[in-house]
Subunit: 243 residues, 2 copies
DNA sequence: CGTTTGACTTGATATATGTCAAAATAGCGC
DNA sequence: GCGCTATTTTGACATATATCAAGTCAAACG
């Protein structure tokens, strides 16, 4: 089960969202020998299901596995002393969750399902051990992690210098590209998160997010119907974030 | 030469700045056997010197080495089409520079000296090869990289939700801790960068940075004399960034 | 159906930051 | 020390976003 449930073509599709609204291919390298691929598949030993609001892990939990999201979606967040929620990420089907904990031995944030979801467990110790034997896997692991650094230098760092509508444009483009990479529409988005969560993620108030959505619609850039968003002018959105 | 010039106690001091204004120990693990340590020292094959404004690398340069900064300091930046400079990081003596390029085979930003500086080259291929033979070194490398992710979730991500003075407080604390970790004063800072560069890094205008400095001084939190900053109330600064 | 509930939108106003301009200060070569 | 220049500080005002407060809408439920 687990990774074995994911067929070869699906494996080549596993991705991680990254960098300045761009997506990059994930971790599971496609240049492995059949034997190596088999060993990688055997590595995953568990599949788990989650309902909306269920925790995949909590802050303080010992870190022992990464997880490949097979279906559904998760958000990661930090809860501040005063109860405020700070959303730190949205993870979609086909993406890898848990990377932020590798350095710490314990999770520093919590992850919970935004809808009914399934994940495959990837025990980190086994992954690291295997990567020692398979140099190309090791290279890939280094790359996934350092891509997160690039992301840092991309979206996150720029967040500080972007205005509200630029942030939302970046967010929508990111969602669009992650959608597309998983074989779904690049223009028809079904957002899984509330305006409040988007705001928390982007460092904006929910009203500001809502106004930005409305303004984009007035400008003919998107069509909004609650959480169903159709992108009408991808190029203009790209222009807004400078690419 | 190179790493051999750095004595044992200095090696244990090499660090990388990270995470939400906290510093973490770096990469060069101290739990190596003498033999392993020797091999690591032999790995570095070159020492280079730089004057103010010299480039350590430019965007597009092929990535082949990390660099340990022996003295001086560097900034990394991205230049936008329109000529605007976006500062993406400040790297101090004792820290490792170049990590952002590991995933790309080419540098995505440029690094230049903010003062006369010296670096030791750490050829990445050799480092990766060595880490395959020394598991504890591999663990360390993974950790350095993923720490950058945590940093993402720390300072960078929070940047979006922090106000100007909170950002500056976070910046000052970061500088203070990096100073302290290298055996220098935690309260007497000699900033190497201009208000413009700080602003670019924090996503603020230079005037806003200046006003924040002035306000902190009025409040008795710091003593400012151009780029010499004395921190008078560390705890209050920590409070401002929520820790 | 009508009611309830939560999410979303919209408006009025306050606050924070950016923008433009000028003055003060520090650094530096002579 | 003097004068030059770049940096920094400060002020007045414009703009963007937050805050507070209603109002709308849609799904869920009696």
């Amino acid at each position: 089960m687990a990774l074995n449930d994911i067929n070869q073509t699906e494996i080549t599709r596993l991705r991680v969202a990254c960098s300045n609204c761009n997506l990059r291919e994930l971790c599971l390298p496609v240049d492995l020998t059949p034997n190596e691929m088999t060993r990688l598949e055997e590595l995953s030993n568990q599949k788990r299901s989650f309902a909306t609001g269920d925790y995949l892990y909590r802050s303080g939990d010992r870190f022992k596995s990464l997880h490949a999201i097979r279906s559904g979606s998760f958000k990661t967040r930090v809860l501040h002393e005063d109860g405020r929620e700070q959303v730190t990420g949205f993870l979609m089907a086909g993406e890898i969750i848990g990377l932020e904990a590798i350095s710490t031995d314990a999770h520093t944030c919590e992850a919970l399902a935004m809808e009914d979801s399934e994940v495959c467990e990837l025990p980190y110790a086994k992954l690291a051990e295997l990567s020692r034997e398979i140099p190309s896997l090791q290279r890939h692991l280094y790359k996934i992690m350092s891509r997160e650094i690039v992301r840092d230098q991309g979206i996150m760092l720029l967040l500080g210098s972007m205005r509200a509508e630029e942030r939302l444009a970046a967010f929508l483009l990111n969602m669009s590209q992650r959608n597309a990479i998983h074989g779904m529409s690049a223009t028809q988005l079904r957002l899984r998160m509330s305006r409040l969560e988007i705001g928390s993620y982007l460092g904006l108030k929910l009203e500001t997010v809502s106004r930005a959505f409305s303004h984009f619609q007035d400008e003919g850039l998107i069509q909004v119907k609650a959480r169903a968003v159709e992108i009408l002018a991808l190029p203009k959105l790209r222009e807004m974030v400078g690419k």
